[in-house]
Amino acid sequence: MPTALRSTLIQFLTLAGCALLAAVLSNAVATPTRRLFWKPVVRALPPLAPPLLKEREPEAPITAPTPVVPAETRKAVPSPSAWTKPGPSVTSPTATVAEPPPSVPIREITAGEAWKAFQAGTPFLDARRSAEYADGHVAGAWSTPVWEADVDDRLLSFKAARRPGADDPIVIYCSGGDCRDSHLLATKLLNEGYFHLLIFRDGYPAWVAQGHPIEKGQP
């Protein structure tokens, strides 16, 4: 092998090695919201059931500015139990939803169904990035960013606080459109044994457009 080619090849491999080393070091010191696991992570999309036609409702017209509920005034607004995050002593608050046990473990729901679930006190999980959650989220929703390294810790906090049964409904949402973070989170929860997972298909933009309650800030 010519000397010039050999030295170029060595430089080529050295550049790759430096990149790998820098990646390891930077990931080691990154905050949980910016960190990734090196080990394989399941990223499979679940089989889905469509929204129930009988539960579809004409959706409210798009209204202008959505009421942002500041944390201190949250109690003053007429709200379902889901607006606050009850402690571990609460006994399966999710069981209050009238929806029968599902025939399929993961189902997409419309904005109307999501609103009904919200009023019934069903917990909402926000699968978007934590920065997006901080910019605005469904009132009382839990931040469980499926792409961030601390998603398992956040899910543990949610489970400890709400103690959802395996067949209790859980609403998961992200940004609507082609966002599939909620589907990924649903797969994760399905693998953990939950089988009444409702994906709010149109996600946060539809929630905002309908003027439903939102909050801002970190969890």
């Binding site: 090849l9 050295t14 550049l15 790759a16 430096c18 990154a30 990035r129």
Partner: protein, 158 residues
């Protein structure tokens, strides 16, 4: 090929432009690896075990290659990597475009939410841009090869 195409000033300008583009592309991805992992996942071309290692390593490789090109260090190796990456990006975009599967390019970090047709149009522009950058890589490699050969010839004559 015309000698002006391997004029040292032109080669310097091309190197610096390429380097700056790759530095600019690397920084948002280094700052937010989960966002880049999500962008790679959307392409549906890579096995899941490779997503996170790719998302962590590729941006640093882009940064080091960009710096090497700007500083004129290990130019052929850096240009080789940049060319390889650009070919891979073009291929990944083309496959998804052929499948009419709109994806966020992820080239300079995550972009705002767009409609499917906007995404498809962006993908075409990205392929065009990457092809243009590949031409710049070809110029750098060719000029560096020519310079290397003339240096060897001069050495033999002395």
């Amino acid at each position: 090929m015309s000698p002006w195409l391997r004029h040292p000033r032109l080669t310097l300008a091309v190197r610096v432009v390429l380097g700056l583009v790759f530095i600019a592309a690397a920084l948002p991805k280094i700052i937010d690896p989960p966002g880049f992992a999500k962008a790679i996942w959307a392409y549906e071309l890579f096995p899941t075990w490779s997503l996170n290692p790719l998302a962590l390593t590729l941006p640093w490789l882009e940064l080091f290659c960009g710096l090497a090109l700007c500083l004129g260090i290990w130019v052929r190796a850096a240009a080789g990597w940049v060319g390889t990456l650009l070919l891979a990006f073009c291929l990944a975009l083309s496959i998804n475009l052929a499948k009419r599967h709109p994806v966020d390019c992820g080239c300079f970090g995550a972009t705002a939410h767009k409609t499917e047709s906007e995404r498809l149009a962006d993908m075409r522009w990205s392929i065009l841009r990457d092809t243009g950058l590949l031409l710049l890589v070809a110029q750098v490699l060719w000029a560096s090869h020519a310079a290397n050969r003339s240096a060897t010839t001069d050495g033999q004559q002395v």
